[in-house]
Symmetry: C2
Subunit: 473 residues, 2 copies
Amino acid sequence: MPSNLPDSVFSPRSVAVVGASSNPDSPGHDYVKAIIEAGFTGPLYPINPRAPEIMGLPAYPALSAAPGDVDLVISCIPADGVLALIEEARAKRATTLHLFTGRFSETGDRDAAALEQRVKQAARDAGIRIIGPNCMGVFDARSGLSFRPDLPRADGGDVAFISQSGNNSVELMLHGAARGLRFSKVVSYGNALDLSEADFLDFLAADDATRVVGAYIEGATDGRRLLDALRSCAAAKPVVVLKGGRTGAGSRTAASHTAALAGQRQVWSAVLKQAGAVEVETFDDLIDMLVAFAFLRPGAGTNVGVVGGGGGRAVQSADVCEEAGLRVPRLPGAIRAMLREKAPHLADWVDNPVDQSILAGSGVSGARVLEMMLDAPEFDALIANVGEDWVLGRPDAIERMAHLVDRFAAIGVKADKPMAFVLGPADSPDETKWRAVEGGKQRLTDARLAVYPSVDRAASAVARFVRFHAGRA
Amino acid sequence: MPSNLPDSVFSPRSVAVVGASSNPDSPGHDYVKAIIEAGFTGPLYPINPRAPEIMGLPAYPALSAAPGDVDLVISCIPADGVLALIEEARAKRATTLHLFTGRFSETGDRDAAALEQRVKQAARDAGIRIIGPNCMGVFDARSGLSFRPDLPRADGGDVAFISQSGNNSVELMLHGAARGLRFSKVVSYGNALDLSEADFLDFLAADDATRVVGAYIEGATDGRRLLDALRSCAAAKPVVVLKGGRTGAGSRTAASHTAALAGQRQVWSAVLKQAGAVEVETFDDLIDMLVAFAFLRPGAGTNVGVVGGGGGRAVQSADVCEEAGLRVPRLPGAIRAMLREKAPHLADWVDNPVDQSILAGSGVSGARVLEMMLDAPEFDALIANVGEDWVLGRPDAIERMAHLVDRFAAIGVKADKPMAFVLGPADSPDETKWRAVEGGKQRLTDARLAVYPSVDRAASAVARFVRFHAGRA
């Protein structure tokens, strides 16, 4: 279904922030700062009855005082001012109103819910679409929209995320960025009073800046429409969905968060499956699968080759891979022949997963075996354990890690099968170790490679990724 | 069964490191440095045929040249020198030989396996017990033994860990330390040629410095003895076991790692269950459960109160808690009455899990609700979400986080029911954010509180912890 969003949602020519503020600890400040820093080039009008200027821009006492038309109005004012704001917005020919403003139906208060309905009707009468209420709104890499100054910059982002939760949209962007994800468009849409997840999915299905779509959804106002939207979006690109409110308590909590009707878990799982979307159950899972779809080369086979780390890591890698549904075949003849030539005493010892500590001093590196695994038809997918703590405890840990990562990354960029890297977690209170791991991660993600903080998370993501592609084949 | 370990395993009066080295990038250097820095007070003899001194200590060309008796001999020399070393060790009245030395039966090579058996027999004839071969050996907080200079210091450690993998012992200590774990004793025992996991479990069962035991085990040489040892140890204190080699490929890999006979997964799970040990499946799980047993107050009830984070986090918290087997009841009358008095417009909106963003500006803090939950008989366990990224993106993030953590920690130290904190992950490439999260974690772990990097990991650990206690009741 073609998108019915006005251009002003993602590509407004002009923006007003109503309730803009000079207080650096307020949302009214964050929107102005974030939009300036995101590089929005059209007119941006801070609206504040008392401030003559905000962040170097002239401010206006009311929306009606802004000098030109305003495409997109962002509201940070209290709920009781929104009806009047809609009248002003209509006069300014606005076509989209984003309500950061909350305290509507999600409060469970009858008057607040009634006001929300009046807002909905007034906006409809004014020809204005609503994002929200009770949400962070829109991040758009191309047009320079953003909702927080500390969000990652948008170089080359092709992952989109829609979220019924504002905090989840921020956390996904920040923790996703630490894993190399860059975003084309992000929408936090809150109570979905007017524009809903289905509208955004329709838009993203056709959005040529977006290659992968993630979603955090608490409820659907129209289940049939959502299924259609999911189906058409998932037909165009991978869609990964975290459903909030899967349990009794979760569903009750969703109602008080975004007034969402969470629905039955089994129904949701069936809908997501039918639509061809990938369902995940935790926030970490959501990031892991977005990383998989963003960075792994396509592939549907389950035979995995694993390299790196010592013997304990090799054993665990084998276990978690097989438990995730992958197969861990023995080394094929070609690799064994190479070992027999270069390191004959190890040729019958080393196997898949490759225990790198066995290879130490042999003249055959783990990277060399990984390279041969890449060429070997016996392997459909690869997992490379890059960092174990022995590296981090050595002198020159940062340089060593960088060197090790570069050798592995050079193979990763050549890969024509799914290849995941394991490095981390960077949870050390020791600054050198943190820098070594973060530096290594940065090198891998700069090369657009998929990095996971543990081998079990890598195995799980690769297994689900190849199952997805097998299902498509 | 009483332990049959000689004192020289954990409390040697004197130690020799054979193959000691001045090269800071070698194990022979690490042992000397680690033991000095761990505060070992007895004579420590570096043995090296060419160096007159190592790390400020006089070095000796051969073990036989050391001036006094030697209780514990640590061998970093190649396998073919070990038989001769045993003769020297016998002459020095040594009673324990730790073989860091590897390349024995784990290679799959027949001659190497035969040599290993000759080593076993020679040591037995000499009255010397063997730790290893192919392992890191012993860390002991009281006696000042250590195997790597970068291991955490041992202030007040009461968690013991035995590991068939050397790298796993290092990784468990480092990543565990980042979660606040401090260790009484750690043993990496490799091929278990002589002293086995059963010997160490027997010892730890009776060790008054040890309150919680973790284990990474690949295989058992004597299943019956292991079951007995597990049972007696688990009767004395919580025992958490990660079994390596659960799958076909994992078991094959374990054989080439420590020559272990991994055995069938179902058999192991049954044995662990029968013994009263807690089985875990990943390294992260192992740390999470050790943190639970080290820091959570005992409790067997499943009704959990959850505080903190915004609405999306609240919904997810409810879902993962219920899916882990906990119950998330609604707020009880007493807390609702307090809300009705202090923040009447929120009293029918806020619920459990508590969406802290709703409370903002109301005069009622999340910490206040948490405190009331602690007193409320309706809640058996608590989970506090401390950090969400909105905190980390604000000005003065480090101070804000510290302040927030301190308020929560003050409640945590008073808790008489299991209470877990969620903070992290500290995976940001941004130094301020990393410092804010690591600083907050440090404050919580300094107060001996249980911290988890995600709410799903906290929920899973709390659920297994209360099930463990329910099973005991």
